[in-house]
Symmetry: C2
Subunit: 200 residues, 2 copies
């Protein structure tokens, strides 16, 4: 939150990129904590230790800052690829494990921002839906060959969305503090049942 960035060979990046990164970090933290309209550009600037005008210099508008804060880190794609590489009958545990590990790593906060701001910010609501559809729903549907595939995937989506909200947004115990392993052991099989289990 304050100043603790490595020197990174002084003069190499001329020094501007560091401020930009600090603003981005502060923005991610605040958007995730207070939502879009609850976050002020001034507060972001203060937390980043720079002048409010710099934020506009870098990102143009508050909306531009928000969009930049939502950029996914490059590790997400490979992780998701691994999920769908394995067999269908162990899909449940891989989905929940990948989700939890991705969101526990703090450099993947964009997903946290989405689940936090989606409720009241139109753009993030669309983005969240699109992200889930593109990365999860579509690929899952392609693997399932059942007439009720849509509903099966829908319940899986709802469940993992709930886990994400409970753990990272509302922080409801014991889900908020449980270890990844324990949650995977609990939730993985349940997801699997939604996906490939018998129709009740």
């Amino acid at each position: 939150m304050t100043d603790d960035l490595p020197a990174t060979r002084p003069g190499r990046w001329r020094s501007g990129a560091q401020s930009r990164q600090r603003v981005l970090d502060a923005a991610r933290t605040l958007f995730a904590a207070r939502g879009y309209s609850g976050t002020t550009v001034r507060a972001v600037a203060a937390n980043a230790g720079v002048d409010p005008a710099m934020v506009y210099y870098f990102f143009g508008t508050k909306q531009g800052l928000f969009s930049a804060a939502l950029e996914m880190s490059p590790q997400v794609a490979p992780a998701l690829h691994a999920v769908f590489a394995g067999s269908l009958d162990s899909m449940g545990v891989r989905i929940i494990r990948t989700l939890l590990e991705a969101m526990d790593a703090s450099d993947h906060v964009p997903l946290a921002i989405l689940t936090r701001t989606a409720p009241h910010h139109d753009e993030s609501e669309v983005l969240l839906r699109e992200f889930i559809d593109r990365e999860l729903t579509d690929r899952l549907m392609a693997m399932l060959d059942a007439p009720d595939a849509a509903m099966r995937v829908g319940t899986v989506n709802a469940f993992i969305l709930g886990v994400a909200v409970a753990r990272y947004v509302v922080r409801m115990e014991p889900v908020a503090s449980a270890s990844v392993d324990e949650l995977v052991a609990r939730i993985g099989p349940t997801l699997q049942q939604c996906l490939t289990g018998p129709t009740a």
Copy 2:
């Protein structure tokens, strides 16, 4: 949203209570749609067809209006009582059916406001957690006699939270448009498994 209230025997309520109710309705709609900081008192007043000053006359502050909008309707308590009246092994379907029917009825919007504003408004975050704990977690824990009761109830909480968010907040298909019966048939048994099923 505009003026379509019955006369209700003119002069009976002196006419003030009607404005108050319209403000409350408009507030519920807007808080649910745009969150706390995204909703302005002026917008609420405009949607209610009254002057902004009236809102302050009735509710003092914006926060007061918010609290008033969160008052649960009196039908909630009996509905929840019925959930816990039945046997433990059909608890899953009763929980999800009660939740869906309560939230589909538009006069129970407070719950929708909570799930929508909790992410970024501190008070609603606490209120949502307390509501779920008091009305669900505590009573469920009392009925379960297992060492892992907390985790079982925790996953149930996460699941129904996810269903609520998917159906009423992010409106993710097919959960958003599915019938109550279909969702109950899908999700009820899964909840039941979380609650009383074998440990995976």
